[in-house]
């Protein structure tokens, strides 16, 4: 089964080609959507087969590399088109193909009647293929194809409604910010390649070979540089500080896109990449700290913004950024499997949330369209009380919200609590631990708050929609609700795969599964870890309780503000106008970037063109010509037409010539 791994990306590619080339001719939505969904579902089946086979193998045999064909071979450099199957990539392909299939299915319903339906499915398939290349790539370069490929698809899908200027802007912004990350990725790759090659004559970008040679890497130094560069790549892809602003804007794309790309899969690529190269990252304590700090900071920062947004998808977007922050926090504190675990659970509940919001928007849009209202279908201030009209959507949404808020028993609790615990208990960052934990906990509180704010504003209370449209609100069709239900179920129970040891009810399957992948990293980490007193179980229990309490506090505040005392938010805003404005405007980060980078770049470009290029460089060129020309004018006027002038010139020539030789 392992050597059939190439089928996994191949199916979506076929889907892409069929829909891309002939979709316009097919016209039948069912066929198009069917092909798209079927292809990814086939991939899912193959993935399942691989998973099954892998479960049956002993841990040390769970790594398999499949070389498809040689790609770039030049000089010392060798990169093949090759796939790597190991526990980590298997988890990823399961998530991608699984969640991907559901979202494809959902899209058939959601995108019904859209112009360019075929285009959407082609892109979606292309995205899946790229994402699968990313996670399956056995060397950095194949990973990079996927890495950029998903960026491309993200660009295409964000810009799906290309006639909207905002969509085009958002798409471009996403791609460019990703490119900034890619810049880091490439430099990191070069550094690692060059270091290994010139110092140990190991010229490789292959993960397996790098892993085998990773003991040669020094701690810190060049590794810090390389890993920081990689981390820049990760921040771009996974929307971390400072490259996070594209993600909220990316909500311009259709909602399934947001669910698949900007919640479940693509944005987690950065986390995956760090996991893939954990044995390199762990060699640099400095980078680990930076990752942890950036992750924590992003978690809290995005969470604050999320509290003030009114667009349902934007809240979710900031929530995604914040959750990604948690994952990076996990990576940064060396809790790699916890990070990946959160990645997976997040894929479930966040995909469910997005799809749920999509269902809401779909319904809202439909209703508003019926009465020709131009109200914003995504603005929560226009919603309220939808739980009656859309019960399935409401239920699945609620389950996922509970999961993300960290209520025990649901998947989010297990993964998030593990991360918070590791932030507190890890042995890498010394006194910083408590700060990291604190920030994480507050962010969790915020998470609970804004998520429940979302739920309350959308599904509870008065129905604030245009009264005329109210009667048109209804539950979405099955093709939409089935994926919701599946994902809701996963969001509820998915966490039991990785139940913390301390709860002791089930073994932590997840950690065991990933152990062979992260073993080496943990071993390297232990060489410089602080071997202080290990926190006791009591503390762990205490903290776990605390985080639950925190989540509940968040929910309570949300309940108070948006259900019981609905005038409270207004009062709050009135009390702290500046704070609200700043938070509402996302801390003015976009404006800051415009001010710092975009505008100077444009101005500088203008300057270089209009002034430097035209006046200085070209001016020099033309200036030479002009000087010559003016000389020409002078010489021309010396040709006066008078014979004695000509004779004078001759005589002068003679005199000078003679004089030079006589008096020299």
């Amino acid at each position: 089964m392992f050597d059939k791994v190439w089928l996994i990306p191949l199916f979506p590619l076929i889907g892409f080609l069929i829909n891309g080339l002939f979709g316009k001719k097919i016209k039948n939505e069912a066929v198009i959507g069917g092909i798209g969904t079927l292809m990814i579902f086939l991939s899912f089946l193959v993935s399942c087969g691989i998973l099954m086979q892998m479960i049956g193998l002993p841990p040390e045999q769970r790594v398999f590399e499949k070389v498809l064909f040689p790609w770039i071979h030049s000089g010392n450099f060798k990169a093949d088109m090759a796939f790597l199957v190991d526990p980590l990539s298997v988890i990823m392909i399961m998530v991608v193909t699984g969640v991907g299939s559901l979202i494809h299915l959902y899209s058939i319903g959601y995108m019904h009647g859209e112009e360019g339906f075929y285009r959407f499915f082609a892109y979606l398939n292309l995205f899946c293929m790229s994402m699968l290349l990313l996670v399956l790539g056995s060397n950095m370069l194949v990973m990079f194809i996927g890495w950029e490929g998903v960026g491309l698809c993200s660009y295409l899908l964000i810009g799906y409604y290309f006639h909207k200027k905002s969509a085009g802007d958002a798409a471009k912004k996403a791609f460019v910010m990703n490119r900034v990350g890619d810049f880091g990725f490439l430099i990191g790759l070069f550094t690692l390649y060059w270091w290994f090659g010139s110092n140990h004559n190991i010229w490789t970008v292959n993960f397996v070979e790098i892993k085998a040679a990773s003991h040669l890497l020094p701690y810190g130094g060049v590794v810090t540089f390389a890993t920081l560069c990689f981390f820049v790549g990760a921040t771009g892809k996974s929307a971390q500080i400072p490259l996070f602003t594209w993600l909220p804007d990316a909500m311009e794309g259709p909602t399934p896109v947001s669910a698949l790309i900007h919640a479940a899969t693509m944005v987690t690529a950065g986390v995956y990449m760090i996991g893939r190269m954990s044995f390199v990252f762990i060699k640099s304590p400095e980078t680990m700290m930076v990752i942890a700090v950036v992750g924590a900071a992003t978690a809290i920062f995005a969470a604050t913004i999320g509290t003030a947004q009114n667009d349902i998808k934007r809240v979710l977007a900031y929530s995604t950024v914040s959750q990604l922050g948690f994952m990076f926090l996990a990576m940064g504190v060396g809790a790699f499997s916890a990070g990946i675990f959160h990645l997976m659970t997040h894929a479930f509940f966040k995909a469910c949330l997005f799809l749920g919001s999509g269902s809401v928007i779909h319904s809202m849009h439909h209703a508003l369209h019926k009465i020709h209202s131009h109200d914003d279908a995504q603005d929560m201030r226009n919603m309220g009380g939808l739980r009656k009209a859309m019960p399935i959507t409401f239920l699945t949404f609620l389950v996922s919200t509970i999961a993300i808020s960290g209520i025990p028993g649901f998947s989010g609790f297990f993964s998030k609590d593990e991360i918070l615990w590791m932030a507190f208990a890890n042995s890498y960052h010394g006194n910083l631990n408590i700060v990291l934990w604190g920030i994480g906990a507050i962010a969790a509180c915020f998470t609970a708050f804004y998520m429940f704010r979302l739920v309350f504003m959308t599904f509870f209370g008065e129905c604030r929609i245009n009264p005329g449209a109210k009667s048109y609100l209804h539950e979405s069709p099955l093709v939409i609700t089935i994926p919701l239900m599946v994902l809701g179920a996963l969001a509820a129970v998915g966490g039991y795969l990785g139940m913390p040891k301390i709860l002791g009810m089930l073994p932590n399957y997840f950690e065991h599964w990933l152990e062979p992948v992260f073993e080496l990293a943990n071993e390297y980490g232990s060489t410089y870890a602080h071997h202080g007193a290990h926190p006791s179980h009591a503390i762990e229990w205490g903290l776990m309780g605390l985080s639950v309490v925190i989540a509940l506090v968040g929910i309570a505040i949300a309940f108070t503000m948006y259900v019981k005392n609905t005038e409270l938010p207004g009062k709050f805003v009135a009390a702290f106008p500046t704070l609200h404005r700043v938070v509402y405007n996302k801390w003015y980060i976009d404006e800051l970037y415009d001010y710092l980078f975009v505008n100077p770049c444009k101005a500088f470009g203008q300057f270089l063109w209009k002034f430097f290029d035209v006046i200085i460089v070209d001016g020099a060129v033309n200036g030479v010509a002009n000087v010559v020309m003016s000389f020409s004018g002078i010489l021309r006027y010396m040709q006066s037409g008078y014979v004695y002038n000509y004779a004078f010139s001759m005589a002068l020539g003679v005199v000078v010539m003679l004089g030079y030789y006589i008096f020299k």
């Binding site: 064909f69 790609w71 490929g149 006639h163 969509a167 490439l186 070069f190 460089v617």
Partner: protein, 552 residues
């Protein structure tokens, strides 16, 4: 078969003769004949490709006497190796496409136009296959003439300025190169070289000062052609004014003359000097990358934007070439071909919309995707190829260049150059967005027709190549690899020699110094006390980083 190179090169000339017998007014026949000629040339050039043995030797060599007068002996000495092979193929590949693109674009003076195109093809092919320096120079100059007329006769509003600037600019550089060429020959004559044959000159040992001057002269000529910052200003003008086919050929092939010149002539002829100037050239290349990208970003004319993007792309090529390692030069060569394909395609695309709307201002467009979906797709693919998206050809070249340069002494340059990757995305996507996305609000754009069959036929081979070279560049790399390895070896041997000089100095040092094993009473004649070793620090930077542990 043995004359297949000559055949390929001069087939277009035969085509010209054929065209002369076709009446002026039968435009269709003229076009079809020209197209047929270029296709035949392409097919013949495929014979070269299939007959090419993958090794470092020059093949299909033809070497017959040509001029022998005075101190000079020039020979009709041609041949190709892996480096020139692909450029020859690129040329013959682009030409039919360029011809096809003129079917509706050029309605006036068709005959003359076709003659120019065919002459140009001969000139370009000749320059790529020449193994005689003098022959190369002749072709190098001959190329200018048809291009000059193409810009000047069929160009836009400001055509005269652009054409004259193009001609004189390149002429200045190439004439200085001519002086260097002659000087080199006389130097070679003293060492027993008998003719202008390039290969003999590779073994010539020149002193550093001579090398520097000669290298500068060659480098200047090639830098103008590339064009490198700050000698690039002719290019945007020439591109904006030239007709579509002219721009395509200019970008796809003519600019490669410059970079090819470095790879084939300037570097292997003067390796030590090349090493010495590598940082300077790399700096200019990197400035070019960033600068051109920033300037491209704010252009209002699509064609000008593409022209500036050319400057940036060729900056990458230069950086790769001056990395002096296999990866870098391979990347540079690939990027040359890639640039030929993707920028050629971009100019064709600009030509398509220009033909429809007679404007190239970005602000006149917007939302074309809706009206022209096929065009949008094509444009997008080419855009991403130009940006260097993995999976397209642009990536392979760019990646190898950056990798190679990073391995070499040009590490910090590479890091700056890599940021060009970001900027290229910015300007290309921005223009794509402004042209293709948004509301289709300009009424003139609402009646635009999508690409017709001919235009699709033009673009398909390019798109196929974009993906083929992106996904399976192996055949390309394999064919050029031995030649590049040989080049790298040539350059490396030379640089070892430069390093040997200071070493020798140092080894003599103890002997010259008083004390040590010196016999008592022996005065230190050779080297006065306190005489520092002046040579070593100045020659140090010329040496490549042979000792990588230094970075640790």
């Amino acid at each position: 078969m043995s004359n297949v190179l000559s055949l390929t090169t001069f087939l277009p000339i035969l085509g010209v003769l054929l065209l002369l017998f076709i009446p002026k007014d039968s435009k269709g026949v003229l076009r079809n004949v020209t197209f047929a000629v270029t296709i035949v040339t392409f097919l013949v050039s495929l014979l070269i490709l299939t007959g090419f043995q993958t090794n470092a030797e020059f093949q299909f060599v033809e070497n017959v006497p040509w001029i022998a007068a005075g101190p000079f002996i020039m020979r009709y000495n041609i041949g190709i190796d892996g480096i020139s092979l692909w450029l020859v193929i690129l040329t013959t590949f682009i030409m039919p496409i360029a011809v096809l693109s003129t079917y509706t674009a050029v309605e006036e003076k068709v005959k003359e136009y076709m003659v120019c195109l065919l002459l140009l093809e001969t000139g370009m092919l000749g320059a790529f296959i020449s193994l005689d320096l003098f022959l190369f120079y002749i072709f190098w100059e001959v190329m200018l003439i048809p291009m000059y007329f193409m810009i000047g006769i069929w160009g836009g509003k400001n055509k005269i300025y652009a054409a004259v600037k193009f001609f004189i600019y390149t002429m200045v550089g190439s004439l200085l190169m001519l002086v260097a060429l002659i000087f080199l020959y006389f130097k070679g004559m003293q060492a027993g070289i008998t003719d202008f044959g390039l290969l003999q000159f590779f073994d010539l040992k020149l002193d550093m000062a001579t090398q520097i001057w000669l290298f500068l002269a060659f480098a200047f000529a090639f830098a103008i052609k590339v064009p490198m910052f700050p000698l690039h200003t002719w290019l945007p003008d020439a591109h904006t004014e030239a007709p579509t086919a002219g721009s395509v050929i200019l970008a796809a092939v003519l600019l490669k003359m410059g970079t090819y010149g470095y790879v084939r002539f300037a570097i292997p002829l003067f390796p030590e000097a090349a090493h010495k100037f590598a940082p300077v050239i790399a700096t200019l290349a990197v400035i070019g990358i960033i600068y051109a990208a920033l300037v491209a970003m704010v252009q209002e004319d699509v064609k000008k934007l593409v022209a500036y993007s050319s400057v940036a792309h060729l900056g990458f090529v230069m950086l790769g070439v001056f990395a002096f390692n296999t990866e870098g030069i391979t990347g540079g060569m690939l990027q040359m071909i890639n640039h030929g394909i993707s920028t050629g395609a971009l100019f064709l695309i600009v030509g398509f919309i220009y033909e429809r709307r007679h404007t190239r201002l970005i602000t006149d467009f917007g939302g074309l995707s809706k009206q022209m979906p096929i065009f949008a797709t094509v444009f997008m693919i080419v855009t991403f190829s130009s940006v260097g998206l993995p999976g397209t050809n642009g990536f392979v070249g760019e990646f190898l260049i950056l990798l190679g340069a990073f391995e070499s002494q040009l590490r910090w340059w590479t890091i700056v150059a890599t940021s060009g990757v970001i900027l290229s995305a910015v300007y290309m996507l921005w223009v794509f967005q402004r042209v293709m996305f948004g509301e289709l609000d300009n009424p003139k754009n609402q009646k635009l027709l999508d690409l017709n069959a001919r235009e699709i036929t033009i673009m398909v081979p390019l798109i196929v190549m974009i993906f083929f070279m992106g996904l399976y560049p192996k055949p390309f790399i394999d064919k050029m690899d031995p030649a590049i390895k040989k080049l790298v070896a040539q350059v490396r041997v030379a640089s070892v020699n430069t390093m040997a000089i200071p070493c020798a100095d140092q080894s003599q040092m103890p002997a010259g110094h008083p004390g040590g094993e010196m016999p008592p009473g022996h005065p230190s004649v050779n080297m006065p006390a306190g005489h520092p070793v002046i040579e070593s620090p100045s020659t140090q930077p010329a040496a490549p980083v042979a000792n990588p542990h230094a970075e640790k």
